[in-house]
């Protein structure tokens, strides 16, 4: 077996029974985690997800079972040494308040005996990676930073000695929603570069769906209810427990996973240019089976939705008739974005444009429903065949 095929983390019947308790807190947890993937442990409070994570770096010593990291059994041996090889991020950040940002980030390299120059260079590199200017921040103290900045430093500190494995315990849990969203996006972008093997604990299914390459939904005693990709978990929950945990909004959540470029846009909408003759436009609209057409400007950017009635009114600039074409989305937007736009739009459709703003096609409710059904793998072909022209697109 080559190194690239070998799983990065293997848990073999990992069990923890706390003294004085009859039932184990973690009961025979076995799983195999591939190199470079983010696996999210998600479950309600008390299901043992944090305990399971802390068994991996042996903050809690397992009662039985094995932890194998990169082919090496690390269940016994020096736990301090093990932990220096595993990045660790916690919700409270755990930055030492009496040490500067640079000293905090340099903690593990210093434990590993790196020389000062190397630590200093690494600190600057890491601060840059998490989007903080080393000149400004390296000599500050944690209390001089905002919550979001502290959590960035927490992530930088965990990556300091370039560990192949990182454990993250609700790292963005204590941060306001807007900053959390930004940190999640930044972290996903960073992960695309650094390709760490990450175990990420959260109780928030939406965060799990966003961050996870695979999600382990846990029930009491860390029993795995389902361990699969976010798409599979949303479309094929293994049982009622998983379905309940996903909650009522499973279909809506699924919309966050697909992008417009992945679905079939409607492209046969009649279009015209603002500069064209009204008569020619009218002719084109009548020949289509649509009740409205989309007018574009010279750069093919959507401007107005017009009906046949609008086009009959002679003597008015085309720029003022009909309804403005709001609700514009791009190919990389999610279906959730598109749904949001089309709900807010005048005509019940979201116009898709490219990066320059030029018209590509439209997405309507039908498109989205078809995509959702396709994800559920419920005879997607049937629904595509049934799809009807949105005759009331411009109403």
């Amino acid at each position: 077996m080559t190194t690239s095929e070998r799983p990065m983390i293997e848990l073999v019947e990992l069990t923890k029974t706390f003294p004085g308790q009859r039932k184990p807190a973690v009961d025979k947890l076995s799983m195999s985690i591939e190199r470079g993937e983010i696996v999210v442990f998600v479950g309600p409070s008390g299901c043992g997800k944090t305990t399971s994570m802390e068994l991996i770096n042996r903050l809690i010593e397992p009662s039985s079972g094995h932890i194998i990291i990169d082919g090496e059994d690390v269940t016994n041996g020096d736990p301090d040494e093990l932990r220096r090889r595993i990045g660790y991020v916690i919700q409270e950040t755990g930055l030492l308040p009496h040490r500067t940002i640079a000293q905090n980030i340099g903690t593990v390299p210093k434990l590993l005996g790196w020389d000062k120059a190397r630590i200093s260079a690494r600190v600057d590199e890491l601060l840059g990676m998490v989007g903080m200017d080393p000149q400004v921040y390296r000599d500050r103290y944690p209390k001089e930073l905002s919550g979001g900045q502290r959590q960035r430093v927490g992530v930088a500190r965990a990556m300091a000695a370039d560990p192949p494995v990182m454990l993250m315990d609700e790292p963005f849990g204590a941060i306001d929603p807007i900053t959390r969203d930004r940190l999640q996006n930044e972290f996903l972008r960073l992960q695309a570069e650094i390709q760490k093997t990450i175990i990420f604990v959260t109780h928030d299914i939406d965060e799990a769906i966003k961050m996870g390459d695979r999600i382990a939904v846990l029930r009491e005693q860390s029993h795995i209810a389902q361990f699969d990709t976010p798409e599979k978990i949303l479309s094929e929950p293994a049982d009622d427990y998983v379905a309940d945990f996903i909650g009522a909004g499973a279909s809506l959540k699924r919309l966050n996973l697909s992008r417009i470029r992945d679905v079939e846009m409607t492209t046969d909408t009649p279009t015209g240019l603002l500069s064209e003759e009204t008569a020619a436009l009218r002719q084109r609209l009548l020949e289509s089976d649509w009740t409205a057409m989309l007018l574009l400007d010279e750069q093919r950017r959507p401007r107005r939705w017009v009906t046949i009635g609008d086009l009959r009114r002679e003597g008015r600039s085309l720029d003022t008739v009909g309804l403005p074409a709001h609700a514009v989305v791009e190919g990389h937007s999610t279906l959730a974005d598109a749904l949001n736009e089309l709900i807010e739009s005048n005509g019940g459709v979201a116009v898709v444009v490219d990066a320059k703003g030029a018209y590509q096609g439209i997405v309507d409710l039908e498109t989205i429903m078809v995509a959702v059904r396709a994800m559920r793998e419920e005879h997607s072909a049937f629904y595509l065949a049934q799809k009807q022209q949105p005759e009331d697109a411009a109403r």
Partner: protein, 262 residues
């Protein structure tokens, strides 16, 4: 760190010095100026009095100097011994394996603090069977152990558990966590305890004169028994002034030792 005052049992609230107080000029120079005024005023007042035989015998430079030095020796030696006993004990009692000993040790320390100081010194004198420096120091140690012990424990216990968890998670050994995380973060509270112990010892050492160990209590006692107001006031000013000087110096040291960034 919270801003809440840390209370050591039986000693009232203690103000924990914060690093951010460093800048305040008034807090640095206010006390020295006050003390200089009081000492100078007392000196000039004593100079202006007609001194009788008793005053001339008691209020000599040699007498005052040696009594002050005796007093400082009692305070310094007893506080040093308390620090050497109470801080390691406090560290020990906050380790998980020693948790069951905590109530026992605190009960003993509370007894020391609970008995009136004169009574405690008398008991030790009876038990020791002799007068002098050593039994008085023992009494002072017993009397002032609690604030340092208590504050060491409180200081260590109030360290945010998530810091210790994160430090363990990064692979720091227990000893490294104690030395580089827990103790530095407990320093402000521990210093507050040491400061309290110093004040207690300066004050209680006044009683040393009854047990043959001298100190500034000798002057106060002479002033009272011989009914010499000048002597009494000089003694009182010296004892109180000394307490304030010691407290001030402890405060300065505390500020210098407090970790930055809190």
């Amino acid at each position: 760190m919270t801003d809440a005052p840390v209370v050591a049992s039986g000693t009232g609230p203690l103000k924990v010095e914060r690093a951010s107080d460093r800048g305040s000029v008034l807090s640095w120079v206010g006390m020295p100026i006050f003390l200089a005024v009081v000492f100078t005023g007392t000196y000039l007042w004593v100079q202006s009095q007609e001194l009788g035989g008793v005053e001339q015998r008691v209020l000599t430079r040699a007498q005052l100097t040696s009594r002050t030095i005796q007093h400082l020796e009692l305070t310094a030696v007893s506080t040093l011994i308390v620090i050497l006993i109470a801080i390691p004990l406090g560290v020990l009692l906050t380790r998980p394996f020693a948790r069951s000993l905590v109530p026992v040790v605190l009960a003993v320390a509370n007894i020391g603090q609970g008995i009136p100081s004169l009574g405690l010194l008398a008991i030790i004198f009876v038990a020791f069977g002799q007068l002098g420096f050593t039994p008085v120091v023992l009494g002072l140690v017993a009397y002032s152990t609690l604030p340092i012990l208590r504050n060491t424990m409180v200081g260590l216990q109030q360290v945010d558990p998530s810091l210790i968890k994160a430090s363990r998670g990064m692979g720091m050994s227990s000893l490294a966590i104690l030395l580089r995380v827990e103790l530095p973060l407990a320093v402000p509270v521990m210093i507050a305890g040491i400061r309290t112990a110093l004040i207690i010892n300066v004050g209680t050492a006044t009683l040393a004169t009854f047990f043959g160990a001298g100190g500034l209590g000798y002057i106060v006692y002479n002033g009272i028994t011989l009914n010499r107001t000048t002597v009494l006031i000089t003694g009182v000013v010296l004892v109180s002034g000394l307490a304030l000087v010691v407290d001030y110096l402890a405060g300065v040291v505390g500020r210098l030792l407090a970790p930055r960034g809190l």
